[in-house]
């Protein structure tokens, strides 16, 4: 097990860590998308992951959410679950939610129905067939539409929302799913400045209650989150620390920021 010796790194105690990647390697036709990647995310932490294209950010999310099986290494969630043995649905039900790079909501369903499907319930087929919404559930969905700035748009088809609103709806779906760990892949891509600011407020408000991992290219947004930053390069951790630390880190400037 390797742990990067850099400021702010905590030792991987299973009691405080929520997600623990240990030596994860993924190769596609000989190309190592992840190369013995190891890091720890603490409970309640807000963490940004940056890096150039092809650094393995999305592959890392694929591994954590069960979409891709690693060739080597372990991914431990909550100290006891080995995520490399579970499928997507099982991992989601453990409390890991993922927002895709391209906003992915159910465009032919209303905002309300999107949240209804995401809301934490028993996921079985018969239960879903017979499900009836009680007032508690309706209130919960209404509260979520307010939180993500979509109050009054419950009956609009999600496909008719603006790009930014779709991103928020997707985040709202992860929240109402009651995900402990939120993986947000480029949450502000394609957003206006005002939308980006609102999103930063939303993401900051999640930390503590949820554990949030943000993959982002927008350095201004990363700075506004004021979180610890992990820089990936060629499938492993290049640097790790505060935003100021990594922005002044020579290797980071060379491979990523300086170009």
């Amino acid at each position: 097990m390797t742990v990067e010796a850099s400021p702010g790194t905590t030792s991987p105690e299973f009691t405080t860590s929520l997600l623990y990647l240990d030596g994860v390697t993924v190769s596609f036709d000989g190309f190592k998308a992840l190369n013995a990647l190891s890091f720890v995310i603490d409970r309640g932490e807000l963490r940004c992951i940056i890096g150039p294209n092809g650094a393995g950010k999305t592959t890392m999310m694929d591994v954590v959410t069960g979409k891709t099986r690693p060739d080597e290494g372990q991914v431990t969630f909550n100290g006891k679950f080995d995520l490399t043995r579970l499928d997507e649905a099982a991992i989601a039900n453990l409390g890991i939610g993922r927002k895709f790079q391209k906003p992915t909501v159910f465009e032919n369903l209303s905002v309300f129905a999107n949240l209804e499907l995401a809301r934490k319930t028993v996921r079985g087929i018969t239960r879903t067939l017979l499900a009836k919404l009680d007032t508690g559930a309706r209130d919960e969905i209404a509260a979520m539409t307010r939180r993500i700035g979509l109050a009054g748009r419950e009956e609009i088809l999600a496909g008719a929302l603006s790009h930014g609103q779709k991103q928020w709806l997707e985040i709202g779906m992860l929240l109402i799913q009651d995900a402990q760990l939120l993986l947000l892949d480029e949450p502000v891509a394609g957003m206006t400045d005002r939308e980006t600011e609102a999103t930063a407020d939303l993401v900051r408000s999640l930390a503590g209650e949820h554990t949030v991992v943000v993959v982002e290219h927008d350095m201004e947004f990363v700075r506004s989150l004021a979180s610890r930053v992990t820089v990936l390069h060629e499938g492993s951790v290049l640097a790790d620390g505060s935003i100021d630390f990594v922005q002044n880190h020579q290797a980071v400037i060379d491979v990523y920021l300086g170009r």
Binding site: K67, A89, E107, A131
Partner: protein, 375 residues
Amino acid sequence: MGSLLDRRGWIGFLATGLVLIVVVPLLNTLPADSPAHLADYLVPLFGKYACYALLALSLDLVWGYAGILSLGHGAFFALGGYAMGMYLMRQVGTRGVYQNPILPDFMVFLNWKELPWYWYGFDHFAFAALMIVLVPGILAFVFGWLAFRSRVTGVYLSIITQALTYALWLAFFRNDMGFGGNNGMTDFKDLLGMPLQSGAMHRGLYIASVVAMGLGFLVCRYIVTSKLGRLLLAVRDAQSRVRFLGYSVAHAQVFVFTISAVLAGIAGALYVPQVGIINPSEFSPANSIEIAIWVAVGGRGTLVGALVGAVIINYAKTYLTGAVPEAWLYFLGAIFILVTLVFPNGIVGLVNRWRGPRRAPPAAPRGLLDEKVAP
């Protein structure tokens, strides 16, 4: 959202039911010289359309809502039909050409000495009825489980469903399968101890078909208006998102595919006594493709569209194959191209457009074969 049918929907449903179940049979019982008399040959014809409509409904449930374009639904229809055919063969008794009380004619002809084990029980209607549901249902469950668990979707799924019906087509052609080979089963005499060739039986089978179609419609409506129905649309449009929400996409697909196959099997079982024959041509891959055309023409993802499409296309087929037989296939091809290019939401989509945008269907599919897969 959420209710089975709204007020207008129930009125339309019950009014249609009243006309089809009460008025049509009554007109048939009028004296033959009455101007309002409905000719006898039309009753089984309408019954056949009702069976096709139920079959189209079953395909729309999986294709229109869950995005599973099955091009093998004719197989489930034919299996339901064969189960009914086996019962009807046993009902023939000693009235066959060879007058064997146990063996159907084709087995005597092949010099078989005893009834194969898989024919046991088919002398009881209740057993046959159970098989009508179970055989297509179990086949769909197993096939669906294997296909959906391996995440076969889109065009690949369509191709293997074609392969399924093709394989059964070849198998049922074989005499040693024990299902009558090339000729299939025909010369049925009785159903439930009553002669098949009588006005009352024709009307009874017609009414049973219409009732089955109506109940099938309500079952499908119940599914598509439930939370599961919304989940199916979600599966159709963004499978990965559904998985990352913690639902099993495969379970939802297997469930709806199995229900759909059972409906198709019931349609086939009601079809066979009205046309008087079941043979392997029902398994032909082209038959299954035709079902998809009915649904596309009517408007997929609407249920009503499937019913309308099946009836209109089959009426056109009845008319054209009689009037200008060589034109039928050209007509079918032309209408399919027209639907794909000009009105992708089918007849129901056209009607909705005339009625204005206020009643846009909940499921608005884009192209006919498009498949939206999340990254």
